[in-house]
């Protein structure tokens, strides 16, 4: 059966001031069949009340605790997929808006693809739309998660490209992929926030479900509005989740190839942060890595479910990790 509806899922925590722009960009979409879900991670401000008063068509899910970006999205997705007509799930950050033809262009591209995991358009910087925030997301040969073409000038993308994975700031996931997961939920809840979209991207690539970037449309992203007030937290979470992500998904031979570079990169990062006068951040890097080593058994246990699901050759995966495309 053809499922044409798109469910937009927005997870918010203490950013009431950004919600209006976000919702209005979704109302302006040229595509008709859209549902909007708003998941609130126990905000301290009046986000929920604001939404219930001014945006009546949005379905609100209130949570009693800050479960994080991953679990908030999972709850929203499971709620959205209860509707049988929903075929695609679009994730949008509160600090991101999309162009009017975003949904229409992505769905026109998706109709030729029986098996795709996710799509994104080029995500530009909100404040300067000639600069790219991300075209895609990938894990490079050093084990670092990278946003593709970050802070490059936007020249134009002539055609679609298969990429390693997409940025969950403004991206579309297909229902077929979510239902074909070996796990119950799309995102890994042990990763509170940061790098859970890289985990999904790596899992999708391994299972043989490609991701694409689609031309002729765009989204605009501010970048780290929720945790911008606390940058050390983001560094800590990045390094805490990085080891788990690698251990959970990567084939062991590639992991062995990457391991010396990972250690070397960590050491150079710590040394660099101390040189430029940020010892607190350097401490967070070290602490994140050490804590992640404690989490290794948890992620190794999760690896068991991926056995037998890997459909991509290791050489092709390694070549995709070179540039992300």
């Amino acid at each position: 059966m053809t499922r044409n509806k798109v469910a937009f899922i927005i997870v918010g925590w203490n950013n009431e001031d950004l919600l209006n722009d976000c919702f209005e960009s979704i109302y302006a979409q040229t595509y008709d069949e859209i549902d909007i879900y708003f998941v609130d991670n126990n905000s301290a401000d009046n986000s929920v009340k604001h939404v219930k008063d001014h945006h009546k068509n949005v379905k609100v899910i209130e949570l009693n605790k800050n479960y994080g970006f991953a679990k908030g999205n999972n709850i929203g997705i499971s709620q959205a997929l209860k509707d049988e007509n929903v075929g695609y799930v679009a994730l949008l950050n509160t600090d991101a808006i999309v162009k009017e033809n975003w949904t229409e262009t992505l769905l026109a591209f998706a109709k030729d693809k029986p098996r795709f995991s996710s799509l994104q358009s080029v995500t530009l910087d909100y404040y300067n739309p000639t600069i790219i925030d991300s075209t895609h997301i990938y894990l490079n040969h050093y084990g670092q998660a990278t946003q593709g073409s970050y802070r490059d000038h936007f020249i134009g993308i002539p055609g679609p490209m298969r990429v390693f994975g997409i940025n969950a700031a403004a991206g579309l996931y297909s229902r077929a992929f979510i239902e074909a997961q070996p796990y119950k939920n799309l995102f890994d809840e042990t990763m509170f926030m940061y790098l859970e979209d890289v985990d999904v991207a790596l899992r999708a690539t391994l299972m043989g479900w490609p991701s694409y970037i689609v031309p002729n449309t765009s989204a605009y992203h501010m970048g780290s509005a929720s945790s911008g007030k606390n940058p050390n937290f983001s560094i800590y979470m990045t390094f805490r989740n990085n080891t788990g992500l690698l251990v959970k998904n990567m084939p062991f031979s590639l992991l062995a190839r990457m391991l010396p570079s990972v250690i070397k990169t960590d050491y150079l990062m710590v040394r660099r942060l101390k040189e430029i006068g940020k010892p607190a951040a350097a401490k967070k890097v070290v602490r994140g890595r050490l804590v992640s080593l404690l989490y290794i058994p948890v992620f190794l246990f999760k690896r068991l479910r991926l056995i037998g699901k890997k459909q991509i050759s290791r050489r092709h995966l390694w070549s995709l990790m070179r540039n992300g495309y």
Binding site: G148, I155, P158, G159, M161, P210, H316, N323, Y325
Partner: protein, 566 residues
Amino acid sequence: MLAKLLPYNSKRRKLVKTIARSSGLIQTSEDYHYNNITSQSGGIQRILDVEVPKNGPLISIVVPAYNTPGYYLEPLIDSVVDQSYQNWELVLVNSSDNDDISKEIKEATLVDKRIRVISVVNRGISSTTNRGIDEAKGEYIAFMDHDDTLHPDALAYCASAVINDPDIGLLYSDEDKLSDKGNLYLDPHFKPDWSPDLLNNVNYITHFVVVKKKLALAVDKLDPKKDGAQDYDFIMKVADQGTKITHIPKILYHWRKAKGSTAADFQSKNHVLDAGVKSLEDHFARNAIEVDVKAFEGKPGFYKVNYKPRHAKCNVIFMPLKSPGEEAYVKSIIRSTKSQYNIKFFVPSYLEKKLQYYQFKNISYFSPNNNFLYDISCDSEKNGVTIIINSVALPFSSKWLDDLAGYAWQKHIVAASPSIIGVDNRVIDKGLINISGQYYPLFCGYEEFDTSYFGEVEWTRNVDMLNDNIVAIKNSLLKASFGKEKNIDLDKLLQSLSKQAGYFTVTGHIVFQQLMSRPPGKGKGKAHYNPNLSPFGKDYFQLNSPTLMRTVEFPYALKEDENDQK
């Protein structure tokens, strides 16, 4: 590598590197420079010279897949799905005998609805590809090998060329090589525009070939008897139909150097030689030309074409050079030349005294006044060839005259010239090429058996203009080029010949060695060169090909001393 610990450019370091290279420990490429440029540019964001056409013809890509492992097939499928021109279809013809691999190949249909997989029994690559051509629904057919990749804008360039000119029957583009692991781009091959004499020498059009489907069916597709050179045969069959052939001077195809295929290892493919010779013989038989085709021993893929003598008489004119030792040089050519023709040698009269001792029979003397060329050409027969020698050069082979006259006698050739090398084995004359209005000498300064981004130096090529050293012309054309003026020298003669319809050819296997130097001719032309390369010895290429604009100078591969500073 351990060589990095040794001092830079020292003998020990070079020794370690040569050992590692010869034993196969490291993947050698002198093109790290080329790879740096190509890997940085050409990706998600890239600049195109043309607009991606929105409503164009359907292009079918036919790929014969025989036991294709996943790490070759997946990049191929990705590169086709990533095309900026979206009106394509991919036909994978699966002739594998391994069931696991067949299962993997069939999963390609899940990636995109425009991909189809057909299973056939393996009866050779030609029959497999022919099944794919039958099943293709597109107006144009593109051929790919099962382990190669396309540039993401390849079909956009082809489609826009075809939309601008629907008469085009065959399109080809430049290519480069991809390392087996897929991480390095190596050895680009920039090709000239349509050059029939080069095609008779070597299959320079290998990839990326796009053909109209009607033409492919009219030509009876690929010939199974010529497996190994089936694409060479196909291109010549299509060209013999008389269609328009264009060249896209962009690198659109990456030919993978897979271990065990022809790109890497030629020694085991002897049947390729016979197939190539057969396809050339068929090509000449179709055009009713008598030839002698031979393959080079120990050098597969290259063929020597000697046209058999058909015409009656041959005139050899020695231009009055007034150089010291001229009589010795004229005498040695007259004595050593063996030919089936009836030759007449025309020698300037001031040499009569010195040459009369030898009592040559077929010689006649002319006075070197202003009109001697006109007078000689008036008296010459219609069915003849004139060879004008305007430089002090000696031939390597005594049968040079038959071969050169045979080339000049062909209908599609206006004038032919041998290649001239110097006493130090460096090229002096291989024709002139027209680059934005000015003529430059081709391969001047290269060594005789050198390779470059434009192919090898020793190939037989079609050029835009010949140097006025040694020229062979048909007598009818010679007479026609004298208009009202009787006073014409060789330069003006060549310029008037360039207005005729036909090609200038410089042969690779007929070689002269020049004993005394003359400066190369200049002239004021068609691009038998590639717009990406510069005229002189350095392979200076401007990447206006499907990537960002950047000009790069690649160091010319001279032997460097250790004392040279960098």
